[in-house]
């Protein structure tokens, strides 16, 4: 199976690799795993408290090229989005953008799960003074 050029691009030049301080209150961290293949993904968002927008996103993914590309793309898409907009990112859009084959769809699911987990973590840190944006299913 050959990777698409977009996957290869993200794999060879991954965007926004790295970590933020997990204890920082403006950081939301999502750690997820794909039991299909044993990939582990950490995705973090940095939220500007006054605008409520995601200023920066970083990831670390230990897994295959498609998982790295999916999380790299996700961090690009997250920048400048509100938390609600972030929660609207669907794995199907990632599949489409990266032209992922059916056997690699779970990599995009992983990225979507990581976004949701990071947003949820941020919201939990903010406590009850901010209403939960959207109920996350699953």
């Amino acid at each position: 199976m050959a990777y698409s050029t977009k996957v290869l691009d993200h794999y060879n030049n991954p965007r926004n690799v790295g970590s933020f301080d997990r204890e920082d209150p403006v950081i939301g961290t999502g750690v997820v795993g794909a039991p299909e293949c044993g990939d582990v993904m950490k995705l973090q968002i940095k939220v500007n408290k006054s605008t409520g927008l995601i200023e920066e996103a970083r990831f670390k993914t230990f897994g295959c090229g498609s998982a790295i590309a999916s999380s790299s793309l996700a961090t690009e898409w997250l920048k400048g989005k509100s938390l609600n907009e972030a929660l609207e990112i669907r794995n199907t859009s990632i599949v489409e953008e990266l032209a992922l084959p059916p056997v690699k769809v779970h990599c995009s699911v992983l990225a979507e799960d990581a976004i949701k987990a990071a947003v949820r973590d941020y919201q939990q840190k903010q406590g009850s003074d901010e209403p939960a944006a959207v109920a996350v299913i699953g």
Binding site: S19, V31, V32, G33, A34, P35, E36, C37, G38, D39, V40, K42, K60, F62, G63, H106
Partner: protein, 191 residues
């Protein structure tokens, strides 16, 4: 979805979470020889086509049964248990532990073979401990033998199926780590 083929039956072995690898090897080689075209010089093309299909099934069964985790996956499927994409749950502390472990490995590119071997030994030990738990929750061999060839779709899944699923999900991460460490050790040996 229950498994369509029983790989144990394909290789003439009793259904069991732990198998004798020598028996597996013996049966595999015997069956391979039996369907090999060289043993059927005068056979027609239809027969040869059928034996090619059989050979591919035998190979597939062998690959699935020789690895402990994939054997457990197959058995769980035969019991009507969920596959990893339909039940993805796992303990968050296992995930965190895996992330921490992989990050620390990534941050130590200077690790030599001895250092990597130490990590590998720990990963293998963790897997063995998990495997012992996995083995203990699967049904006995006699219960497995009594399973219908195809699990009944309408049956309500027994609670152990979900627990087994989660343990196998954990296992996939230990296996991934063991594979990565082994690859890294090989690379170091070449350099």
């Amino acid at each position: 979805m229950p498994e369509a083929v029983d790989y144990f039956a394909v290789l003439g072995l009793p259904r069991s979470i732990e198998i004798d690898l020598a028996d597996l090897e013996d049966n595999y080689l015997r069956l391979c020889a039996a369907v090999h075209p060289d043993s059927h010089n005068n056979a027609g093309s239809a027969f040869l086509e059928a034996s090619e299909e059989k050979a591919s099934l035998i190979n597939q069964a062998y690959q699935f049964l020789k690895d402990d985790l994939s054997r457990a996956e197959h058995l769980l499927g035969l019991c009507g248990g969920p596959d990893s994409s339909s039940h993805r749950a796992m303990a968050p502390e296992i995930l965190e532990q895996q992330l921490e472990w992989r990050e620390s490995l990534e941050e130590s590119p200077e690790l030599d073979i001895a250092g990597l071997e130490k990590h590998l030994a720990r990963a293998k030990k963790d897997w063995r401990e998990l495997w012992a738990i996995i083995k203990s929750i699967f049904p006995t061999d006699s219960d497995l033998a009594a399973l219908p060839a195809k699990a009944n779709l309408n049956e309500i899944p027994a609670p152990w199926l979900k627990i087994a699923r989660e343990l196998l999900n954990h296992g996939r991460f230990f296996k991934g780590l063991i594979r990565e460490l082994t690859e890294r050790i090989h690379k170091n040996m070449i350099i």
